[in-house]
């Protein structure tokens, strides 16, 4: 008989995985929803955020509350990188076929992975939790680190924040309009070019933020970009590309499949996730919550 506290521990671990993934996948989904570009380089932005956060923590002092400043700074820096890439290169790809867009973002993966390797080397790096997050809460007989609790609160807050931005502000209305009909919006006088840059930067910000926040939990090493993009990809496909709540749900499902899949098929949990992704693509290619795109 499996202990209930053990099951609860698995559940919590799945939930925290889900929240990290949501942070990253939300950016991927947002960018696809508005720009209609599937950004392979999103995982590279995540990696860049993680390494920049590590660097900032080294400069500002490890094991201090300046961790939060480093996290936010890394997110902003990645947003800036994203904005530059969109402004200088990506915008010339919108009219091209998907193949060229996909390969362009894949080229970014290659370039960024080597820039990171060149700058920070290949050894594993890690960041300490800030002192305010050292403790743990005792819930149902298992210890949940404070930092995990923080992440589990942050995930839904960000989801809600994005939802409010998109549905309750004038800017959000413009963004939703851009997703529907770019040309009409442009004809109505909106500056669609900067809107796209802004959305790409916002998506990149979430990737960078996710990477920075993950540093106390996972170690930094080359290859983390490819690993996360595959996972984020599964999440957005399950939930529906371009759908915010779909992505949230997709992350929750994926987190639990991974956490409990390990108990049922110890060696095949990642495999189970791919099968789930393929099954959803076969039955509902636009995902659980997405809408089919006509192109």
């Amino acid at each position: 008989m499996i202990e209930p506290s053990f099951l609860f521990g698995q559940f919590v671990s799945g939930l925290s995985t889900a929240m990290y993934l949501f942070l990253i996948a939300s950016g991927l989904s947002l960018i696809f929803g508005v720009l209609r570009v599937l950004n392979f380089a999103h995982g590279s932005f995540y990696m860049l955020g993680a390494y920049l956060a590590w660097q900032l923590v080294q400069w500002l002092g490890p094991r201090t509350e300046s961790f939060w400043l480093a996290v936010f700074g890394a997110g902003l820096a990645v947003a800036l990188v994203g904005a530059l890439i969109e402004r200088l290169l990506l915008r010339h790809m919108y009219r091209r076929e998907e193949l060229y867009q996909l390969l362009f973002t894949y080229a970014l993966v290659l370039v960024i992975s080597d820039v990171v390797r060149y700058t920070w080397g290949t050894q594993q790096l890690g960041v300490f939790r800030p002192p305010s997050m050292e403790g743990a809460l005792r819930v149902f007989g298992s210890n949940v680190p404070l930092y995990t609790v923080f992440i589990m609160v942050l995930g839904p807050s960000i989801a809600l924040g994005i939802w409010l931005l998109l549905n309750r502000t004038g800017l959000g209305r413009t963004v939703r309009a851009a997703a529907l009909d770019r040309e009409m919006l442009s004809a109505l006088g909106a500056n669609v070019g900067w809107l796209y840059t802004g959305m790409f930067a916002l998506g990149s910000f979430f990737a960078g933020l996710g990477g920075a926040l993950v540093t106390p939990v996972r170690s930094l090493l080359p290859g983390m970009d490819v690993e996360i993009i595959v996972e984020a990809f599964i999440v957005v496909v399950i939930g529906g590309l371009g759908s915010l709540w779909g992505t949230f749900l997709g992350a929750l499902i994926y987190g639990q499949v991974l956490a409990f899949g390990i108990l049922v098929f110890p060696r095949f949990s990642i495999f189970a996730a791919f099968v789930l992704m393929a099954a959803i693509l076969v039955v509902r290619p636009w995902g659980l919550f997405g809408k089919p795109i006509e192109r």
Binding site: L89, L99, A107, L110, V111, R117, V237, A278, V282, R295
Partner: protein, 313 residues
């Protein structure tokens, strides 16, 4: 096909050029040229963007290696089984893929390829898991020893000639497929799928046919590559491998039959040159790819053909 005969004969002289390294490079190039040409049956011919072509390369490689190493089967059996299993996998996956369009097609091919990778990576008992399978036996080439000229060559050089012959045969078959009425229908589907439907074509069936054929030929390339490499590894089916072969096709030019083969050769030679100077090959590859996408979207052959057309005016 006099051009092709001349090309094959020219390539067959490589073992006599005096360097084992040339033969090694040439083997790599001809095998991957077949892999890239097989992908172009989907990409350039039918207009289907597969982001998971490595799956069938991997299935072919593992099929041949498992048969030869685990079951001691002769090379001929492994080589025949590879395209059959790869084609079967392509038939099953393709059945679902051709129902989707554009970006969803690309995503589903990628998802299926990751499933194949997951199986190779985790099924330790059969595939060797993460470590892959090393020391796959070389095919028995003693019969080549009795042939004039070839008999005195080293085993690696004999294998190169064998691979060259097999690849030449496969590429000739692909050329015949492209030139056949079936191939013409595929280009009709690429140019105007709606019109193809109007004239009564079962578009999905033709697309599935192209998918299976492309998968089977990729399987042959995979089988040859596994033996050349003396081992098969899960990386063979990973998505970066699918991206690599796509880059070869784009680099050479997907609008021309020979483009992908030329792209495969150019990419491998470039890799050799760059790796001598720096370990940052991905950076060079990424930058090259960006320049290619922005400045030379037609690839090497497309750019040369355009320049030639301008000169003749």
């Amino acid at each position: 096909m006099p051009w092709m005969t001349i090309l094959v004969l020219a390539l067959a002289t490589v073992p006599w050029m005096g360097s084992r390294f040339y033969t090694f490079l040439a083997t790599d190039i001809v095998i991957l040229a077949l892999f890239a040409t097989s992908l172009n049956l989907l990409l350039g011919q039918t207009g289907l963007v597969s982001f998971g072509h490595a799956a069938y390369f991997g299935v072919g490689a593992y099929t041949c290696a498992i048969l030869m190493k685990t079951h001691g089967a002769p090379f001929a059996v492994g080589l025949l089984a590879a395209p059959i299993l790869a084609g079967l996998a392509a038939a099953v996956f393709g059945y679902f893929c051709v129902r989707l369009t554009r970006i969803y097609f690309a995503m589903l091919t990628l998802a299926f390829a990751q499933i194949v990778w997951g199986i190779c990576f985790k099924w330790n008992a059969v595939t060797g898991g993460e470590q892959g399978m090393s020391d796959v036996p070389y095919p028995d080439l003693s019969w080549m020893g009795a042939l004039p000229f070839i008999g005195s060559l080293r085993v690696g050089e004999q294998y190169y000639l064998l691979a060259l012959a097999i690849v030449a045969l496969c590429i000739a078959l692909l050329r015949m497929i492209v030139d056949s009425p079936f191939g013409r229908m595929l280009s009709l589907i690429r140019e105007n799928p709606e019109r193809a439907r109007f004239v009564g074509l079962d578009v999905r069936r033709y697309e599935l046919g192209a998918f299976v054929l492309a998968g089977a030929f990729a399987g042959v390339a995979g089988a040859l590559f596994g033996l050349f490499n003396r081992g098969v590894f899960p990386d063979f089916a990973y998505w970066s491998k699918s991206a690599e072969v796509l880059i070869m096709v784009i680099l050479g030019g997907m609008g021309h039959f020979w483009g992908p083969a030329i792209g495969a050769g150019a990419l491998i030679l470039l890799n050799q040159q760059i790796s001598a100077y720096t370990q940052f090959w991905p950076f060079v590859l990424g930058t090259t790819l960006i320049i290619l996408l922005f400045v030379f979207p037609g690839g090497i052959v497309g750019t040369l053909a355009a320049a030639w057309a301008r000169l003749r005016k």
